[in-house]
């Protein structure tokens, strides 16, 4: 009993330290977003005082100069579109490859798994070239690209959950007069809801925060949030508006943090369902 308590205390201390370590950069960003750009560079860790505190000035200049509002709408469009595409297409794919068992579906499943271990950096230049040739370098075209990148993990998670579903429910639907498409959307998909929410959250988070893919495909004309912040705040000759930069970072992470707070219980549940029942 005593040993257990001791272990708990140690584990709590370690986790507290780790949490602080992960939260520290966010703390730095928030704190510096209220300081003048020169104070940020000279004293990055100092708390703003009466001399260095600039109020919302960084936020105002950041919003004015970065075009963050346009970027925000663009990012929302890309994130929502990509997440919807990922959830609908990967759940259907996972259902098919789980229920129709042959060497082809098995091969496709392993292909999806393989796609998870290929780093983006390995394919980014060739893929960018191909996408530009195919005319996918716009905010609509980037959605299928995200679908491709997000499908590996999503198919894996959906498959794990579908394997645990009794096939009889689908057979009952067939006898009750459903076509395969209706069976999927009316019977199977509602049952997949917890996993679908998890898949949506996980994908929404990385697509929202992604910098490299929109930078490569959309360039600086159709800036997403992360690209807008990085590009616009960078002045001439390597000068950076650190104040505006920090303020825009804070604005960019607020929506996704709120989204995560609302949905975090589903993430844990969905990941466990997929992993354990699979």
């Amino acid at each position: 009993m005593k040993d257990g308590k001791k272990t708990n205390v140690i584990a709590f201390t370690v986790l507290l330290f780790l949490s602080a370590l992960f939260l520290f950069p966010i703390y730095l960003v928030v704190m510096n977003s209220f300081k003048s750009r020169f104070n940020i560079v000279s004293e990055p860790f100092a708390f703003p005082d009466s001399e260095t505190f600039v109020g919302l000035e960084n936020y105002i200049t950041g919003i004015e100069s970065s075009g963050i509002i346009d970027a925000l709408f663009r990012t929302v469009f890309i994130t929502v579109g990509s997440v919807l595409a990922i959830v609908i297409f990967t759940s259907m794919t996972a259902w098919y490859i789980t229920r129709v068992k042959n060497k082809y579906t098995k091969g496709i499943y392993y292909l999806f798994l393989f796609s998870m271990i290929v780093p983006f950096q390995m394919v980014m230049f060739t893929m960018t070239a191909v996408c530009i040739k195919l005319g996918l370098n716009n905010i609509f075209g980037i959605i299928p690209v995200y679908l491709g990148f997000g499908s590996g993990l999503s198919v894996f998670m959906f498959s794990g959950f579908i394997k645990s579903l009794p096939k009889e429910i689908e057979e009952a639907a067939m006898i009750d007069g459903c076509s395969p498409l209706k069976t999927f959307f009316v019977v199977v998909f509602p049952i997949l809801k917890p996993t679908a929410i998890t898949v949506a959250i996980l994908n929404a988070m990385w697509i929202w925060n992604d910098f490299l893919l929109p930078y490569l495909l959309l360039g600086t004309n159709n800036k997403t949030l992360s690209v807008a912040i990085q590009i616009t705040m960078q002045g001439a000759y390597g000068s950076i508006n650190w104040g505006g930069f920090m303020a825009m970072l804070v604005l960019a992470i607020i929506p996704i943090i709120i989204f995560y707070m609302f949905c975090q219980k589903y993430i844990i549940k969905g990941v466990i369902d997929g992993a354990v029942k699979g």
């Binding site: 009794p166 009952a172 006898i175 007069g177 019977v187």
Partner: protein
């Protein structure tokens, strides 16, 4: 209402394994037929082929006069109740039951009428707004039955619908399903591995083994006149005793001889046994056809065997004794008032009017 006809049905899976070979079965309109057999005997596959959930590799399947080999499940006019209930977890009980009718574009008020009527019959009216997860096993099974009922199908297919229920509930549901059949006057095909369900519910029982029908008969006929050792052993609990013995002929009488015993066989068996004189056969006798009461000895002490009692089990209504005669094991179901205790030897008489003689090689019935 419809009859079902399976003609030379064969089922071979993609990996080349054949589970059903040349199955022929006629199920009459309004009949309650039970498919029974051990796991892997092909009973569920047969039912699923009737439902259209498994493709038929060869042969013809008729529901009514219609060849349905290539007809999809929804167009076969069947309803199926699954072992796992297969209720839609995200729908309420009402929606579960109404789903099939809604898909068939039945008017809303008619759906409502049918669902409520079925719910009343099955006593699940107060659960109509509940989700399946808020119901007990027995209630879920009744919802599954209700879902099938409202469709008013020509054929009801039930795949081990009671095996997930506890013993008490199973007994209750057994009679409920029998009543339902009586009420609906529809063809029922019921798959089970439980011989009690088979014996108590069906008009006719089809006993299967390795994809082959071993016997297709009424419960009484299966019990009293099993056509082979498999059926004899499968139907009845505890199972029939099988004793390897030799047929001896003395003048006009035939005897089953084993160890030091010569059991005199009834004269009605003479003709059938005439080909088996001095040959090995298997004598089958049900535990309840072995007695300790003296009146069954029939004055012929040759029919008395001495059993060493290994275990004596009192279950209330029955008293089972498990014993051995040298190398042969024997189970007897004797009067519960008996005073026999284990590790003693008791005298038993076999009721020779109720014995069955099987061929050792083909395991088929010679006479009974």
């Amino acid at each position: 209402m419809a009859s079902i006809s399976l003609k030379n049905i064969k089922k071979t899976y993609e990996d080349g394994v054949t589970v059903i070979e040349n199955l022929n079965l006629e199920i009459n309109d309004k009949e309650f037929v039970i498919l029974v057999g051990p796991s892997g005997c092909g009973k569920s596959t047969t039912l699923r082929m009737i439902a259209g959930l498994e493709e038929i590799s060869d042969g013809e399947l008729y529901i009514g006069n219609r060849l349905v080999n290539n007809v999809s499940p929804k167009d076969r006019d069947i309803a199926m109740v699954f072992q796992s209930y297969a209720l839609y977890p995200h729908m309420s009980v009402y929606k579960n039951m109404a789903f099939g009718l809604k898909n068939r574009k039945v008017p809303k008020d008619e759906i409502d009428k049918k669902v409520r009527a079925a719910a009343k019959t099955l006593e699940i009216e107060k659960y109509l707004n509940r989700k399946p997860r808020a119901l007990s096993g027995g209630q879920r099974q009744r919802v599954a039955l209700g879902r099938a009922m409202v469709r008013e199908p020509s054929v009801f297919l039930l795949d081990e619908p009671l095996s997930n229920l506890d013993a008490k509930l199973r007994t209750e549901m057994r009679s409920r399903i029998s009543m339902l059949h009586k009420e609906l006057q529809t063809t029922f095909v019921y798959v089970t591995h439980d011989q009690t369900e088979a014996m108590t519910m069906g008009d006719r029982i089809v006993v299967m083994k390795d994809g082959v029908i071993m016997q297709n008969d009424t419960p009484q006929m299966l019990y009293n006149h099993p056509q082979n050792m498999f059926v004899a052993g499968f139907i009845g609990s505890p199972q029939m005793n099988f004793i390897n013995c030799k047929i001896l002929r003395k003048q006009d009488c035939f005897y089953a001889s084993f160890n030091e015993y010569n059991i005199k066989l009834p004269m009605r068996m003479n003709e059938a046994l005439s080909l088996y004189a001095d040959k090995e056969v298997v004598l089958g006798v049900r535990p309840e056809d072995i007695y300790i009461e003296k009146e069954y000895f029939k004055g012929d002490l040759n029919n008395v065997i001495h059993l060493y009692v290994d275990i004596a089990e009192m279950t209330g209504a029955n008293y089972y004794i498990y014993g051995s005669i040298a190398d042969k094991k024997l189970i007897a179901d004797i009067s519960p008032n008996s005073k026999i205790i284990k590790d003693t030897v008791c005298n038993l008489a076999i009721d020779t009017d109720k014995i069955h003689i099987f061929d050792t090689v083909s395991e088929k019935l010679i006479c009974d």
